[in-house]
Amino acid sequence: MHAARNIALCTKDCLCLFICPTGATDTETGQIDFEKCIDGCRLCVDACPSHALYLVFDRYPEKEQKSHSLGSALASVAENKVTQEAICKALEQKGGPGEKLAKALAVSNRILAEDCTRESNYMLPQTEHVQVLLAELAERKAEKDFPYEAVEYLQKEYS
């Protein structure tokens, strides 16, 4: 586990600078230097008066897999939501007075679809389920404009 900083909460009291044994908090990126950060140390997390620092797992315990029937039912709601999103995007393209409403509904439907995918095993990038998905996506390498390098990077990052 390493520390991460929520810059929106940081009040620049900078107690993390004094307390960190390795200087991992002393960066100009707004973020912690993950390479220097000591696994599970949490001194900065406890020292920060603004709760702007927290620990992130490097490896999460594998979650229990959803049953196939639950996964399918969630996938079918997600599919229905992306269909609605597509309709809304088409209405947005049409322009006119309803354009903004169409856009709001498209954004909302995407959020609802994402929530369903989170609950059907795609919550965290560092899971076997996502690895399986990435392997499937890699098979689409030959498609025009397919961002294969992105798949390669993610397979390596989360292997």
Binding site: S76, V77, V82, K94, P125, L137
Partner: protein, 151 residues
């Protein structure tokens, strides 16, 4: 893991944009941008839809409420899956609000939008039609900072 579920490109776009957010939360901006590229790709790959009016949404919304969400809820209860139940509780509420907004728009027409702004809660998808950003999301209780204004 059971049989694999086949997702459309539109759903793959949502899976990838969600994983992009997950990487952002873990402060992994490079990984996030890879998922973002994938999501963009699937967005452009999903076939364009012909649509003329908002009424085309109503049937889909009704089927979400009466069968889609109901089915997930039934299985999630059976399996004691609290995460999926939580997702259904919020999703159903937000979806019902979509329906009521479309009803209001049908009655009041463009006047509804001319006098108000549109805000979407990024935590749960709730849409507010109001002059000012809500202080609190009525569905998921997220603060006003979680709302985006649609422009």
């Amino acid at each position: 893991m059971g049989k694999a579920i086949i997702y459309s490109d539109g759903a793959l776009a949502a899976i990838c944009s969600n994983l992009e957010k997950a990487c952002d939360k873990q402060m992994k901006p490079v990984a996030a941008s890879q998922f973002s590229q994938l999501s963009d790709y699937f967005n452009t790959m999903s076939p364009p839809v012909e649509a003329d009016s908002f009424s085309e949404l109503v049937g889909l919304i009704d089927s979400d409420i009466s069968s889609g969400y109901a089915e997930v809820e039934r299985i999630a209860k059976e399996e004691g899956d609290r995460g999926a139940l939580r997702c259904m509780t919020w999703g159903k509420k937000v979806t019902s609000i979509h329906k009521s907004i479309l009803g209001r728009y049908e009655k009041q027409g463009d006047a509804l939008l001319e006098q108000n702004n549109l805000y979407v809660c990024e935590a749960c998808g709730f849409i507010a039609i109001a002059k000012q950003v809500p202080a609190l999301c009525p569905i998921c209780k997220a603060p006003s900072s979680r709302f985006v204004q649609i422009s």
